[in-house]
Symmetry: C2
Subunit: 221 residues, 2 copies
């Protein structure tokens, strides 16, 4: 993690996300621009942070570590979103860990202005909206994971993450997100290839029968 001093970049993102609009007062003096490398820890599970982050670019994962050592991937975070807001309002240490998956750019807000934030209706309203959307996204992911077999969930996930008909997520990440073992994921992926729905290429899996895949994702098969 390192601070980015480029004023240009700062301005660029500030404009892009209309960062002013989230606050009823001038948050600029408390804000700086940070870059996280892949694997960098953004929030350490169980420790307290005195910053509130806003993801501008990149992708991060939210996870929980269980007593038996297994790690559950709760969700991905994609820009734009806040990070660390739950901890801030409850004034508690991080209940999830957050780690960068790709290079991430964030605004970092120094919580020395916390009292001011908690009196700002503009900010609080936005926070409520972000929180409820995040909850909704978590819960939908969660309940979908319970309601369907991997075949269905994987089909959705491939359609969601493919670019130009090419699926190239890391198997390790996908398996964690979908809540299954790596082994099982490969079984089902192999099944899709055998059925001619996907084709394995050196650059990733190419979607051959998109309609079929959509039907599977809809739980029709």
């Amino acid at each position: 993690m390192k601070q980015i001093d480029s004023q240009n970049l700062f301005e660029e993102y500030w404009e892009q996300y209309h960062f002013d609009q989230f606050f009823g007062f001038d948050i600029r003096p408390y804000t700086s621009l940070l870059a996280f490398d892949p694997e960098d820890v953004i929030l350490q599970e169980g420790t307290k942070s005195n910053h509130l982050y806003f993801l501008l670019n990149g992708r991060a994962k939210v996870f929980i570590t269980h007593k038996n050592g297994t790690v559950t991937l709760v969700n991905f975070l994609e820009a734009p979103c806040f990070i660390g807001e739950m901890e801030m309002v409850n004034d508690q240490s991080a209940c999830h860990g957050v780690t960068a998956l790709r290079a991430c750019l964030c605004f970092s807000i120094d919580l020395s202005c916390k009292a001011q934030l908690l009196q700002d209706t503009v900010f609080l309203q936005n926070l409520c909206k972000f929180l409820s959307r995040k909850t909704l996204s978590d819960v939908q992911n969660y309940s979908r994971n319970q309601a369907y077999p991997l075949k269905t969930k994987l089909a959705s996930f491939i359609l969601l993450t493919a670019n130009n008909g090419l699926y190239r997520e890391r198997h390790t990440e996908t398996a964690a997100y979908l809540g299954v073992t790596y082994r099982h994921l490969l079984y089902v992926l192999a099944e899709f290839v055998k059925d001619g729905i996907l084709e394995k290429t050196p650059h990733g899996y190419r979607i051959v029968q998109e309609e079929e895949l959509k039907q599977i994702a809809d739980g029709d098969i």
Copy 2:
């Protein structure tokens, strides 16, 4: 669902939960007391409500219906908590259904004062706290469901819900909450009985070997 006109009961709950404290203005004129019978719908999935509820007593369930007809129980709601707050801040129709499991008493807030609520820092702060706690509880339930087999989850659940060493939840509800079929739940329950950990009685299942059950709940077995 019916309105309760007893001024006494109203006052009693108002005091018990210090209901004033959640608001920066006088919410009383907008508040009434409602009683829901078991099975009554509190929030109808997909429709818009113009009330915000606050659960005073009883127990409700939050669920999502999937396209394939399966219903996922997202969580239980226990007093005290808000109901319908996500829909309110995002001004959208209910993304989960909420149904009473036991007789439920609620304060019902008429959202004609919505604009005022959304300008009230006291309320907004409390809402943020409630929202993040709810998220946390959902996510912990969710991730636990992914990380352990039913044996482990059921052991926790029995320890959580037993009264005086007696477990007597409805199997149908437990199965839904733990995200498994009814059939499978009965298998594992029977296994506990066979192993002498539980004993089946006419009034419910009695916990015989509590230490053993705790070990299983901890994932140690």
